[in-house]
């Protein structure tokens, strides 16, 4: 139980930090796409005896790069391409799963198994999460610049291609880490809702990161707690709590000033 709390909180923090970038960049669907696309990778990795996270990472990244490539070479819009690519990969994963005799539990992959997580997986998840968290936090200002104003980033000689790729790799790693905890269906909620909620509440980017993380960790801990006593899926409970917080923010944040941080120096005189 304690372990579940610790891992849940860590995964929530990683996803929350990434969610800020995804939400601001309009990449919410990308999180969905990459997470669904890991399924065939997991099945293939299992079949050939590779570590599952390696397969998951590879096919998640394949989805992202394939989307990028197709978008550059056709006139079809990115979200459309993504919709085709990730559902295709997900379907492929489902077919491979039914054709591969295995001891994998599909529902554990889809919905996670936080309370029944094994120590080895636990360590894996923890290490992966910590690495991703450290890198994203270290590079947060660079990623923020590339998200807010790509042309300024390029004017300073940064490569948008490289930064985008780096963010995608981090996203894929985070999804792999979160798989164990919440599964590939609900990880998208972890990758969108905290950022979206924080966006409603703050006016500075660093604060957005902090608020998103706080919301995500809080929701995760209370979600696990509820699920334990209600005997319901922990992933579902976590997502439910997050959604509730989002609705609350939606109702109370704008204009009301309930949580909105208006610096006292702000006034309406202009020079």
């Amino acid at each position: 139980m304690l372990q579940a709390f610790a891992v849940g909180a860590l995964v929530a923090a990683v996803c929350a930090v990434l969610s800020c970038f995804l939400v601001l960049r309009g990449w919410s669907l990308m999180g969905d796409a990459v997470s669904h696309a890991v399924l065939p990778g997991i099945v293939v990795a299992y079949a050939v005896g590779l570590p599952l996270p390696v397969g998951a990472f590879a096919s998640g990244l394949l989805c992202a790069t394939a989307t990028g490539w197709i978008k550059r070479h056709t006139r079809v819009k990115e979200d459309t391409v993504m919709g085709v690519v990730f559902t295709g990969l997900f379907a492929l994963g489902l077919v491979l799963y039914t054709k591969t005799p295995s001891e994998l539990h599909l529902d554990h992959i889809l919905f996670g198994n936080l309370l029944g997580i094994e120590p080895a997986q636990l360590r894996q998840t923890a290490v992966l999460s910590l690495i991703v968290l450290a890198v994203v936090i270290a590079l947060r200002r660079t990623f923020m610049l590339a998200t807010f104003d790509p042309s300024q980033a390029r004017a300073l000689g940064f490569s948008i291609r490289k930064l985008d790729t780096a963010l995608l790799v981090l996203l894929a790693l985070a999804i792999v880490a979160a798989l164990q905890a919440v599964g590939i269906i609900l990880v998208i909620a972890m990758l969108v809702t905290p950022g979206a909620t924080a966006f409603l509440l703050v006016r500075s980017f660093d604060r957005m990161l902090v608020v998103a993380t706080a919301i995500a960790v809080g929701s995760t801990l209370s979600g696990i707690y509820v699920s334990y006593f209600a005997n319901a899926s922990s992933a579902a409970c976590i997502v439910l709590v997050q959604a509730t917080v989002f609705v609350a923010a939606l109702c109370f944040a704008p204009g009301k000033g309930l949580l909105r941080s208006v610096p006292p120096t702000t006034n309406f005189t202009e020079n």
Binding site: M144, F148, S151, R154, A155, L156, G157, T269
Partner: protein, 309 residues
């Protein structure tokens, strides 16, 4: 602000036979060639769709020229960009105005090139940001979220960012559209100061009348470079009618009701703050003879200093 440029040799920006064809097959620019050297304000003038923004994007490397090349100090633009030398103020900031950043956050982005990989601002960065915000007159609004500004104030934020970057080359794509006269004058004053510091400024504008007042050089374009050089040489009736075709309104005094009894004085009213007036044979007339003379003298002095360095 510290003048980090003055003691270094002025940079040269050169476009050699640059052509740009967009993926849809439209050739927006062909065979554009010109060279500019630091310590100048150069106007980029042309009708809508003549390729001004395209030229800026080609200079910045945002679009890859289908032919030709752009160099800064005889090296690829990218090298100059890595050193933070090139600042760019885009035309329509394709910016998400709901983004949770304040005025000072945005201006700070001009300094990222000078910081370590964590982008932790040093005192010198904070000073540069404060000074830049002050120079565009936004000190009172520095903590504002950028979406909470007026159109002209938004524009000034991006000018401030270019200032904070202290680029040796500053490209401004129509900084005067949608700003009031006071702001335009403030920006022009800033540009003059930057020129005095030895920076190279390329600014596109539709405000023909103000060009002779603050730009010493002009690049006239219409899908290629029609003319480039000192303002007085480029801004002739012939060149302007080539660039603008029928788009400019003429008022020919000799065929008008203006007669000898009017003397040398007529009143010109235009919707634009500063009308462009061409004299006989199509040479430039300046509104203020003394101020123009002063400008010419200054430029001469600057040239002499540059030669001495």
């Amino acid at each position: 602000m510290s003048p980090p440029v003055s003691n270094e040799l002025p940079l040269t920006l050169a476009a050699q036979q640059v052509s740009v064809t967009y993926p849809n097959g439209h050739t927006a620019l062909s065979d554009a060639t010109f060279t500019l050297t630091g310590g100048t304000i150069c106007a980029l003038v042309g009708v809508n769709g003549s390729g001004k923004s395209t030229l800026f994007k080609a200079l910045m490397g945002f679009v890859t020229p289908t032919a030709g090349r752009v160099t800064i100090a005889d090296a690829p633009v990218r090298e100059a960009q890595r050193k933070g030398w090139v600042a760019y103020v885009p035309q329509s900031e394709e910016v998400d105005w709901t983004f949770p950043v304040s005025v000072e956050d945005v201006v700070m982005m001009g300094r990222y090139g000078y910081m370590n990989f964590l982008r932790t601002p040093r005192p010198v960065d904070r000073e540069a940001v404060t000074a830049a915000i002050q120079r565009v007159g936004l000190s009172d609004l520095r903590k504002r979220q950028i979406g909470e500004l007026s159109g002209g104030q938004k524009k000034r934020v991006f000018v401030a960012r270019a200032l904070a970057q202290q680029g040796r080359i500053i490209l401004l794509d129509e900084p005067f559209t949608g700003v009031d006269v006071k702001t335009e004058e403030a920006i022009v004053t800033l540009l003059r100061e930057l020129r005095a510091e030895g920076r190279l400024i390329l600014v596109s504008t539709h405000n023909l009348g103000s060009v002779p007042e603050f730009c010493d050089q002009v690049v006239l374009i219409n899908r290629t470079v029609l003319a480039c050089g000192p303002t007085a040489e480029v801004f002739t009736a012939e060149n302007l009618s080539r660039a603008f075709g029928g788009a400019l309104r003429h008022f020919d005094l000799s065929h008008s009701t203006v007669e000898a009894h009017d003397g040398r004085q007529v009143t010109v009213l235009t919707d634009d703050e500063r009308p462009l007036v061409l004299g006989q044979g199509g040479h430039l007339e300046y509104r203020d003879r003394a101020a123009h003379q002063k400008l010419v003298d200054e430029r001469e002095a600057a040239k002499t200093t540059a030669r001495d360095v």
